[in-house]
């Protein structure tokens, strides 16, 4: 990871894999450009996210873990119940 000051890390790039149809939204449509790309048996979309790990902040990419099995867990929010 970079040697930037830990406080103000540069924003993470988000989704790195381009969406299947990268065309701009059509007129009259309110669809978000990033659409669901996932299906079992297909590559997981790569991404970069800012993260808290090992007591500090860093940006993490899914492709950093290539060669390992990964469990990616999404959840609604910190300080909630389940």
């Amino acid at each position: 990871m970079s040697d930037q000051p830990q406080g103000c890390v540069s924003p993470a790039k988000g989704v790195l894999t381009p969406a299947a149809s990268a065309a701009a939204p059509r007129e009259g449509s309110t669809q978000e450009v990033t659409r669901m790309q996932v299906m079992v048996g297909r590559p997981a979309p790569d991404f970069e996210a800012s993260a808290y790990l090992d007591g500090g902040f860093a940006n993490v990419k899914l492709s950093d873990y290539r060669g390992k099995w990964v469990t990616l867990c999404f959840y609604p929010g910190d300080f909630t119940f389940v």
């Binding site: 993470a12 669901m36 996932v38 079992v40 997981a44 390992k68 990616l72 867990c73 999404f74 910190d78």
Partner: protein, 130 residues
């Protein structure tokens, strides 16, 4: 990964998670600001502004092997996640020569798919009565 910032993750780890689990959660806690990554994975709830309870199992080549999505009130079952990881790793280790039938646990018989097995699975495997 949630829509919370890395700062909130840090404080949640310090204030609560480390009191539930010794040393806290040993995995990177990712921040999905604006739900952009969740949206690509089909789990971002735009109206609520949060990622719902999605879990993706990704193999060493970066291919999704399994996914499970729940609405927020119900938590995950880690015994099933562990079972799936073991099953997928077994299949991968045999390069697909062996596949795992329903209810498989490590040590149980596997199946060897091929033309000879068509219509003959009943001879080599019976469902468990659980």
């Amino acid at each position: 990964m949630s829509a919370d910032s890395r700062f909130t993750h840090k404080v949640w780890q310090e204030e609560e998670l480390s009191k539930m689990v010794p040393g806290g959660v040993p995995y990177p806690m990712l921040s999905d600001a604006g739900g952009r990554i969740g949206a690509a994975y089909g789990v971002y709830d735009e109206a609520a502004g949060v990622d719902v309870r999605g879990r993706f199992l990704i193999d060493p080549e970066g291919v999704i092997q399994a996914m499970e999505v729940l609405t927020p009130p119900v938590g995950r079952n880690f015994a099933e996640l562990t079972r799936q990881i073991q099953a997928f790793q077994h299949v991968a280790a045999t390069k697909g020569a062996e596949v795992t039938p329903a209810g498989w646990r490590p040590g149980d018989p596997t199946l060897k798919p091929g033309p000879d097995l068509v219509g003959k699975v009943w001879k080599v495997w019976k469902p468990k009565q659980e």
